[in-house]
């Protein structure tokens, strides 16, 4: 069994972080120059961490599989970033942001981490503005805010519908500055294929140069995984095509615990699926729910007529429409949290009231907002989003309601980390979406950007010193050390095995098959029966993959199909762990909804038995993982039923 020490500092909640910072060990500047840090992934968490650590004087190496660090998928975040600035004078505070985030996560996140997140949220906005991030402003020159799901205050800062892009470019520019100064060495088109551990400590990685197919060994005194989430296990998701679980999965196989893998976020406002050829799903920002009203017809007959093309949305009279979120959750209405809005959409469609050709869609209607504010204001508010929707669907949302349906968007689960963001392997850290720590069972909108940047700019620069101060005498380890050789050989063998199968089914075939299993049995509604079935199906599919996959091309070449095959091979293992975790958690909470545990359609938590983090420990690919539990202790808030009614 792994020992999980969360290392939460003593003292009152609002003094824990300051007290930690005051007592953390420091590394002097001369020693920092000798300490090497590897950062894998260059999204918000990775780029901000790499830049900040290099500014402090550490020697940093960064890796990304894209052709440039600027392309990480953080760039696609649309809506905004939360911060407890209270610039609106509407009663916001660090404590309120903390409470909203804990409650939004359905009381399954760690108190101390979330409080720290809320605390540093104010510094993030300051830092980003100083970098030249062009946030939306009011005529007086001050920063503008908007409201987002799960909150009754306006605390979301935004840059049109491209907030993630602008924040990432800020971090990327800070990173490039350090590259230019020679403090960071950047490796683009490089994918981490294993982490190297020596005497129980992370000491480097094996990376694949995707251009040449060659494996490389890289040493680091510490390794930071900032590699995002695993939503692509579903094949169809809002993630980028290349987003993958490989780095986190290799860490798991080297001893890092994987926490709460079943907590996945299904985002309510995405463009519905239209066909089998589809490669990804496109998100329409949650901010649209500020002005858009969600509805389906009250009667299944009307919905049927719409599906058959006999009626259009405008033919349904006001009194025949069911604005179901406003009806069910009057105090939050269309701005209730994502898990709740998604489930409500699924219920409406299961009820036979879905629209669109497939019946798997609901309306998001801007007619009221247009009447109230005028077309120009609505258009200005949602920048690129309306044209984007129109381009993809060939329909104009200013004239006819948008059609939306939930899609996999974010994964709250991830590598288990302590208060210092260190995994259960010494010297191996996980930041941003790659870790599990701050969002519990459901993430609120505009909180992912906040967490990625909090971890990178303001947490890791303090916590890494506490570890590296004990490592100042460690000289760079020879790359011919048996641990490096062994890890490289294992990766090479795995690649050769994949190339040698020469089967009949393509990598995408397998990926799509896995995605269908996950969506059907481990998606918005899960049951013990379905999950048990799914586990067997995944095991069978994995066997078939290793005997029938077709990977073309050469091993020592630019070979995207081989890269994809390596990622899918890991998803085929990780998907099973998600199912195992979902099966273990006999309750419904946040994004994890077990049909057996409900109260008239509302998720029913079981705090007596499941107020813990499930941190799984690897024992072998076809062996049962070990369940380690970190009890969640709530000392400052009272656990209660999460109500948005």
């Amino acid at each position: 069994m792994a020992t999980l020490d969360s290392k939460i500092p003593e003292g009152p909640l609002d003094e824990k972080w300051s007290s930690y910072k005051e007592h953390a060990k420091l590394v002097n500047p001369a020693n920092k120059r000798r300490l090497e840090v590897i950062v894998v992934g260059t999204g918000l968490a990775g780029a901000s961490a790499a830049a900040s650590l290099a500014e402090l004087g550490y020697k940093v190496k960064t890796f990304c599989f894209q052709d440039s660090p600027r392309r990480a998928h953080s760039i696609a975040a649309q809506g905004g970033i939360n911060s407890a600035k209270n610039y609106k004078n509407d009663g916001d505070s660090v404590h309120r942001l903390f409470y909203d985030t804990i409650k939004g996560g359905d009381f399954r996140a760690r108190e101390a981490n979330v409080y720290r997140l809320a605390e540093v949220s104010v510094n993030i906005i300051d830092q980003c503005v100083a970098q030249g991030v062009p946030f939306a402003r009011e005529y007086g020159g001050m920063l503008d805010n908007r409201s987002f799901g799960g909150a009754q205050v306006s605390r979301t800062f935004y840059a049109r519908g491209q907030t993630g892009q602008q924040l990432l470019l800020g971090a990327y520019q800070a990173l490039e500055r350090q590259i230019g100064l020679g403090n960071v060495t950047q490796y683009s088109r490089h994918e981490m294929v294993d982490v190297v551990t020596i005497d129980g400590k992370a000491r480097g990685i094996i990376a694949k140069d995707l251009k040449t197919g060659k494996l490389e060994r890289h040493f680091g005194h510490a390794v930071l995984l900032c590699t995002g989430g695993y939503g692509n296990v579903f094949f169809l998701s809002t993630n980028a095509m290349g987003s993958n679980v490989t780095a986190a999965w290799k860490a798991y196989k080297k001893g890092a615990c994987f926490a709460n893998p079943c907590y996945t976020q299904i985002h309510p406002t995405c463009i519905p699926v239209t066909g089998d050829y589809q490669s990804k799903l496109t998100l329409m920002s949650e901010s649209l729910r500020n002005d858009g009203r969600v509805w389906v017809p009250k009667s299944a007959e009307d919905a049927k007529a719409i599906r058959e093309g006999k009626k259009g949305p405008l033919d349904i009279k006001e009194e025949d429409r069911d604005y179901y979120l406003e009806r069910k959750y009057p105090s939050f209405g269309n701005l209730c949290p994502r898990d709740i809005a998604s489930r409500a959409a699924k219920e409406a469609c299961d009820d036979g009231r879905g629209v669109g050709k497939t019946g798997l869609a609901v309306y998001l209607d801007f007619a009221d907002a247009i009447n109230r504010l005028g077309v120009d204001v609505v258009k200005a508010r949602y920048g690129e989003l309306f044209p984007m929707y129109q381009n993809i669907t060939n329909q104009d949302p200013l004239k006819t309601p948008m059609m939306i349906y939930p899609a996999v968007h974010y994964t709250m689960g991830g590598l288990w980390v302590d208060y210092e963001l260190m995994t259960s392997v010494q010297g191996l850290y996980a930041l941003g979406e790659a870790n599990f720590s701050d969002h519990g069972a459901n993430r609120l909108g505009a909180s992912a950007l906040m967490q990625g940047l909090a971890d990178g700019y303001f947490v890791i620069p303090y916590t890494i010193g506490n570890y590296l101060s004990g490592d100042i005498f460690t000289k760079p380890i020879d790359l011919n050390h048996p641990a490096f050789v062994e890890a490289e050989n294992a990766a090479q063998e795995r690649m050769q095995k994949l190339m040698s199968i020469k089967g009949k089914r393509t990598v995408d075939d397998f990926h799509k098959a896995l995605g269908k299993i996950m969506w059907e049995y481990c998606g918005m509604a899960r049951s013990a029966e379905g999950l048990t079935k799914a586990r067997k199906m995944i095991q069978d599919l994995r066997k078939e993959f290793w005997s029938d996959v077709a990977v073309p091309g050469e091993i020592n070449d630019f070979n995207p199909e081989l890269d994809k095959a390596m990622r899918v091979a890991d998803f085929l293992e990780q998907g099973e762990l998600m199912v195992v975790d979902a099966l273990n958690r006999n309750e419904s909470c946040g994004g994890h909804y077990r049909v057996e545990f409900q109260d008239q359609g509302e998720a029913k938590r079981d705090d007596e038995q499941y107020a813990y983090v499930a941190a799984w420990e690897f024992t072998g690919v076809d062996a049962e993982p070990i369940l380690n539990k970190e009890e969640l202790k709530y000392e400052n808030i009272k656990l209660q039923v999460r109500s948005y009614k």
Binding site: E55, P69, D126, Q165, L283
Partner: protein, 251 residues
């Protein structure tokens, strides 16, 4: 829908490339261009052939990774869209479509349609930033910013660094890309202290990378998927002239 494709295939930068013919049918008009290529690649893999290498990632028009020169136009016939946001309904059934990589000396070919755009990163590293170390910032509202300036800065900052401007330019100039970053930061008070250095350093790096000169043709603006305006180039010229001739800044 059915299409005849002529696709550039090239093993790597050291070997010669050529256009190869493919036909593809049963294409749905709601497919994106990249999904059409996915289907083609799927067919190739099933036949045991090497699929076409191409760059792509987010598939929602923001990461800037996709980069195809389609029938003589960067990102294809649709104005203001990346290749991933180009849908097959924009083509006619039976069309012949040419697909080529970005062509520029500063963007060497990696394989097929994949090029190396590292030059853009190096230009940013030369000066496309505000030097503000983490932790140094004052309160975000201490410095009011004129809303119109903020909007203009955002217009320029919307650049996704895809390189279509370079590919579309007969001189393979990177002026639109460089001017977008220079404009974004020059329009904001936060960018003020380094504005001279930035213009000089970024232009010097652009030249060192082997991009061509700007002759004000405007092809970059016409093909930019994010509709970055030519006025940014005028602003860059002004910034550069100020820095080079009216300031004492040296890099």
């Amino acid at each position: 829908m059915k299409f005849n494709l002529k696709v550039w295939r090239q093993k790597n930068a050291n070997t010669a490339g050529k256009l190869v013919d493919y036909t593809i049918d049963q294409i749905n008009e709601d497919m994106s261009f990249l999904e059409m290529v996915d289907v083609l690649n799927d067919n190739l893999v099933r036949k045991g052939e090497d699929p076409i290498a191409f760059d792509h990632d987010c598939r929602e028009g923001i990461c800037g990774m996709c980069s195809m020169y389609i029938s003589g136009r960067a990102h294809g016939p649709q104005h203001g869209a990346t290749t991933c946001q180009l849908y097959m309904r924009k083509f006619k059934d039976g069309d012949t479509i040419y697909v080529e990589p970005w062509r520029a000396r500063a963007f060497p070919i990696v394989k097929d349609l994949v090029v190396d755009r590292g030059a853009f990163d190096r230009i940013i590293a030369a000066g496309g930033f505000v030097s503000a170390n983490t932790g140094q910032a004052q309160d975000a509202n201490n410095l009011p910013v004129n809303k119109d300036d903020a909007e203009k800065a955002m217009d320029a900052a919307a650049c996704i660094g895809c390189g279509a401007c370079v590919a579309a330019c007969k001189n393979a100039s990177a002026m639109l890309f460089v001017s977008a970053k220079v404009s974004h930061l020059a329009l904001l008070p936060q960018g003020e202290p380094e504005r001279n250095r930035r213009a000089l350093a970024m232009v010097a790096q652009m030249d060192a990378e082997g991009f061509g000169n700007c002759t004000n043709t405007g092809a970059c603006e016409a093909e930019c998927p994010k509709e970055i305006k030519l006025v940014n180039i005028a602003r860059l010229n002004r910034e550069y002239a100020n820095a080079a001739f009216a300031s004492e800044t040296q890099i």
